[in-house]
């Protein structure tokens, strides 16, 4: 077999690549433009909230502040007016916290038990109820709003924060239950069976066997709920009174219902403050957030 002569000339090694090839320019260029579209509003928010009003009126929303002032932030937090109250967003913040923390805990507790039940303890009609629940996730909330109002009025919780907590638990049930059900179904059946063989009952298995290994899904559920409930507006505006407005409702009032001169910097500060909590959760949880959303989104 005649071997081929090694010609010193001729192509060898990797293909010559230019870093600035047309392909790279197109890819990074497009991504850069897209990134600007997404990042710009945040930048504008921050920048606007740190300017004084005279500077804003000069007209360029994209320019960084010439003189940084935190006054808009102070005003937004402590002095902005909603209706009769002029103690700023701090009131709404407290309300949101009072709404979110219990809602998250209760809705996740209930949904996880639901998911556990559906995954391991079949009883007649269980699947039918579950289907109704899931269908309920697609139905526009509007159609169940007024009946919910009536129910809350009957049990005396209409306008109270506890009423809103109940609402969030009820309407968060479908997606969360699905999430937990899928998770518990994916766990090996042997775990459950071993528990039964050992004589453990419904609640024992839940607390001693299932919970300890479910940390990932609980974290995902928490991220979903914290951001979802904190950002909610519709339920907030229907089921609360001015005293008990969550932050989102108050924010909208501050910005959109003000007569007279619009203080854009205060508005943007207020907007930023409202967005900070879910943004913080997002930046901290990073990849988990993505997985949580994807998990919640991959429905049957």
């Amino acid at each position: 077999m005649a071997a081929v002569e090694l010609s010193g000339a001729g192509p060898r090694g990797p293909r010559p690549k230019r870093t600035f090839s047309g392909r790279n320019i197109m890819i990074y260029g497009t991504l850069f433009v897209a990134a600007v579209y997404y990042a710009l509003p945040l930048y504008v928010m921050i920048v606007t909230s740190l300017k004084g009003m005279p500077e804003i009126r000069m007209g360029n929303i994209f320019s960084p502040p010439m003189e940084i002032t935190f006054e808009p932030w102070v005003k937004a937090w402590a002095q902005a007016c909603t209706g009769l109250n002029c103690d700023g967003l701090s009131r709404g913040f407290m309300n949101s916290v009072i709404i979110t923390v219990p809602s998250v805990i209760i809705s996740i507790a209930v949904a996880s038990v639901n998911g556990y039940t559906l995954a391991n303890w079949k009883f007649k009609g269980a699947d039918a109820f579950f289907t109704i629940l899931i269908v309920g996730a697609f139905i526009p909330y509007q159609i169940m709003l007024y009946p919910m109002v009536i129910i809350l009025r009957q049990i005396g919780l209409y306008g109270e924060l506890s009423g809103l907590i109940l609402v969030h638990t009820v309407f968060g049930m479908p997606v969360l239950t699905l999430l937990f059900r899928n998770y518990f179904t994916s766990l090996p059946e042997e775990l459950f069976k071993a528990g039964r063989v050992d004589g453990a009952g419904f609640w024992n298995i839940y607390f001693r066997i299932m919970l300890p290994i479910s940390l990932p899904i609980f974290v995902v559920a928490m991220i979903l709920q914290i951001t979802g409930i904190w950002n909610d507006f519709l339920f907030g505006v229907v089921f609360t009174k001015p005293d008990t407005y969550p932050m989102t409702v108050q924010l909208n009032n501050i910005v959109n219902s003000v007569q007279g001169v619009k203080e854009y910097n205060v508005n943007m500060a207020a907007t930023l403050i409202t967005g900070l909590v879910p943004l913080f959760v997002y930046f901290v949880s990073g990849k988990l957030f993505v997985r949580g959303i994807a998990a919640g989104a991959v429905k049957g």
């Binding site: 639901n114 009883f123 007649k124 309920g136 509007q142 039964r196 967005g275």
Partner: protein, 299 residues
């Protein structure tokens, strides 16, 4: 509940703990979801004003609904917003995912940037874009100061294009998620398919069109359902960004429902409008559910 007795207990007591634990779910499903929906539908045939009254008036509310200019505008707006949202979300989301899949640097940073709007409330989104689209101080002003003095883009005051202003804001918030889902789908495609296509001499773009996208059908469908479910409910964004204006030009059904139910003290209209919303959802969901479940059975 372990039982040592050989005698079977009555069916009700089997799995008693489970049934008790499921009570919240059962109550919610039956009372709120099923019961509430039926209640609203029934009362949409009444002429309730401030309080619900069982005074049946047939299709009166619905006739009034469909002859109301405001409702017609709402529906039109929803249709335009919905269709464009769907198309652009899918296209932009998919294209961004394709770009992100090219083994680039800064992937994590870029993903964080694309996705963070999703963590924000619609109210925040609406307010920010309201500010950005402010004609005197916002985008229009900037472009004009760059020399294009005739540039006009004030969706907030132009009834014809206000829905597009809302669209820009909505896309800004939602496409990050679509991109993430598409990227996950792309990453799930076997590397060897790409190699086989390359050996076959198939150009990259054709590989995407003829091979990859058909393989991503499940992801596209999931995304479609997600976007669709979100579109019907659009309310917060409108309230924050435009308040329904200018002059009712950016009304949407969800806002119509709220305004009549809690604002104008016309419960009947509110009920009728929400019933219409439900019917729309059913019309869209049923074909999809049909497709999904009949496919399952044939597999």
């Amino acid at each position: 509940m372990s039982s040592v007795n050989a005698r079977p207990k009555s069916a009700v007591f089997k799995n008693l703990s489970a049934k008790i634990a499921a009570v919240p779910m059962i109550l919610t499903a039956m009372v709120v979801f099923l019961g509430g929906t039926i209640w609203t539908i029934v009362y949409s045939f009444t002429n309730s004003k401030l309080l619900p009254r069982l005074n049946f008036v047939g299709f009166d509310q619905f006739e009034r609904l469909w002859s109301s200019a405001r409702w017609i505008t709402s529906v039109e707006n929803l249709a335009i917003y919905g269709a464009l949202s769907l198309v652009f979300s899918l296209v932009v989301g998919f294209l961004l995912a394709v770009l992100m899949d090219q083994k680039i640097r800064f992937e994590n940073t870029l993903r964080t940037i694309f996705l963070y709007p999703f963590a924000l409330s619609f109210i925040v989104t609406g307010l920010v874009w309201q500010w950005l689209l402010n004609p005197e101080l916002g985008l229009q002003n900037i472009v004009r100061s760059l020399g294009f003095t005739n540039f006009t883009f004030d969706p907030l005051y132009d009834a014809n294009i206000v829905i597009y202003g809302v669209l820009i804001a909505g896309l800004w918030q939602g496409t990050g998620l679509i991109m993430v889902l598409m990227l996950a789908g792309l990453r799930g495609i076997d590397e060897e398919i790409w190699r086989a296509a390359r050996v076959d001499g198939i150009p990259t773009w054709k590989t995407y069109v003829f091979i990859i996208i058909p393989m991503l059908r499940p992801v596209f469908i999931t995304t479609l359902v997600l976007i669709g479910a979100g579109i019907i409910k659009v309310y917060d964004l409108i309230v924050a960004q435009t308040g329904g204006g200018p002059g009712g030009a950016s009304e949407v059904p969800a806002k119509y429902v709220y305004d009549f139910m809690f604002g104008a003290q016309n419960l009947g209209q509110g009920f009728a409008a929400s019933t219409m919303m439900l019917i729309t959802v059913i019309i869209i969901i049923i074909p999809w559910a049909f497709m999904e479940f009949s496919q399952r059975r044939s597999r």
